[in-house]
């Protein structure tokens, strides 16, 4: 029976792991600064975090929380975990930044910024950090939709070798963060049942 064995939620004001708010006090306004504060709070020890765009940072942090809570082995290559994320704004938050670097007055396109003008780089960052070699994908939806997310998760499970799917809604635009990441496991006796109602309950927390 499929179960949601861990989940995290990061919004403009809240950081929640498995239903419990994290005891983090923000010193700055909602925006990229808070992502840095969450990173330091988690003590991830991964300086490459600071090269990422805001979307990747947000998805990375939510994934860190979920994977660390499950004591996920990040050293061994793992083909049995898939990573499937979705959002509404694609990489628009960072696309705007890249557009600024190619505006006529100051023509210096930034390669490091261009790298993140693709929404699926966040799945790549999570995979690199945790040596995940399974299926990865990224979908664009009009809004958070638990039913559609379940189709994408089921797609990942359709592959015989997939035992776990790290899936989520990773929306970040103009300083506003709306992220939910959860681990869905094919066979587990821990966690909550994997169904539309539970996913929606987690989202509206």
């Amino acid at each position: 029976m499929k179960k949601i064995t861990a989940y995290s939620r990061i919004t403009d004001s809240l950081v929640i792991l498995n239903g419990k708010p994290c005891e983090i006090t923000f010193s700055c306004e909602p925006g990229p600064g808070r992502l840095a504060e969450i990173y330091r709070f988690l003590e991830s020890g991964y300086p490459k975090f600071f090269k990422m765009d805001n979307l990747s940072k947000a998805g990375f942090l939510a994934s860190e929380m979920v994977l660390r809570s499950l004591h996920y082995d990040m050293e061994s290559p793992d083909e049995s975990t898939a990573v499937v994320f979705a959002n509404r704004s694609s990489s628009l938050d960072n696309d705007k930044r890249f557009q600024e670097t190619i505006s006529r007055e100051d023509y210096f396109p930034s390669p490091a910024v261009f790298v993140y003008t693709l929404p699926n780089i966040v799945t790549g960052e999570v995979a690199i950090r945790n040596k995940i070699l399974g299926e990865t994908s990224f979908f664009i939806l009009e809004s958070f939709d638990a039913e559609k997310m379940m189709i994408f998760v089921d797609w990942a499970f359709a592959s015989a070798g997939t035992r776990r799917v790290l899936c989520g809604w990773t929306e970040y635009l103009d300083g506003h963060c709306d992220v939910l990441v959860m681990m869905v496991e094919k066979e587990s006796d821990q966690g909550v049942d994997y169904n539309k109602q539970n996913i929606n309950n987690i989202y509206i927390t």
Binding site: P47, F50, P111, A112, V115
Partner: protein, 85 residues
């Protein structure tokens, strides 16, 4: 040259998003890539942009840039001889 080296370290930190690193943390003669700061291929491309943006030096071939970007010292040396800004 001392001023150039200090400025260059600050510019590298900013251009490459090297959080929690100060100019004092960067050894002027240490390798920038693989060891030392452990920069990668995208960082190398950003350093090419930095050279043009800050010093007006255009480097077209990433392969030839390997020697120039070996360390902060080699970068500063190249800049002092070729800068247009």
């Amino acid at each position: 040259m001392e001023t150039l080296i200090l400025d260059l370290k600050k510019q590298i930190i900013e251009a490459l998003n090297l959080e929690d690193i100060t100019p004092d943390d960067i050894d002027t003669n240490a390798p920038l890539f693989v060891e030392g700061l452990g920069l990668d291929s995208i960082d190398a491309l950003e350093l090419i942009v930095l050279m043009e943006k800050q010093y007006g030096i255009k480097l077209e071939d990433p392969g030839k840039s390997k020697e120039i970007f070996r360390s902060v010292a080699t970068m500063a040396d190249y800049i002092s001889k070729n800068r247009k800004k």
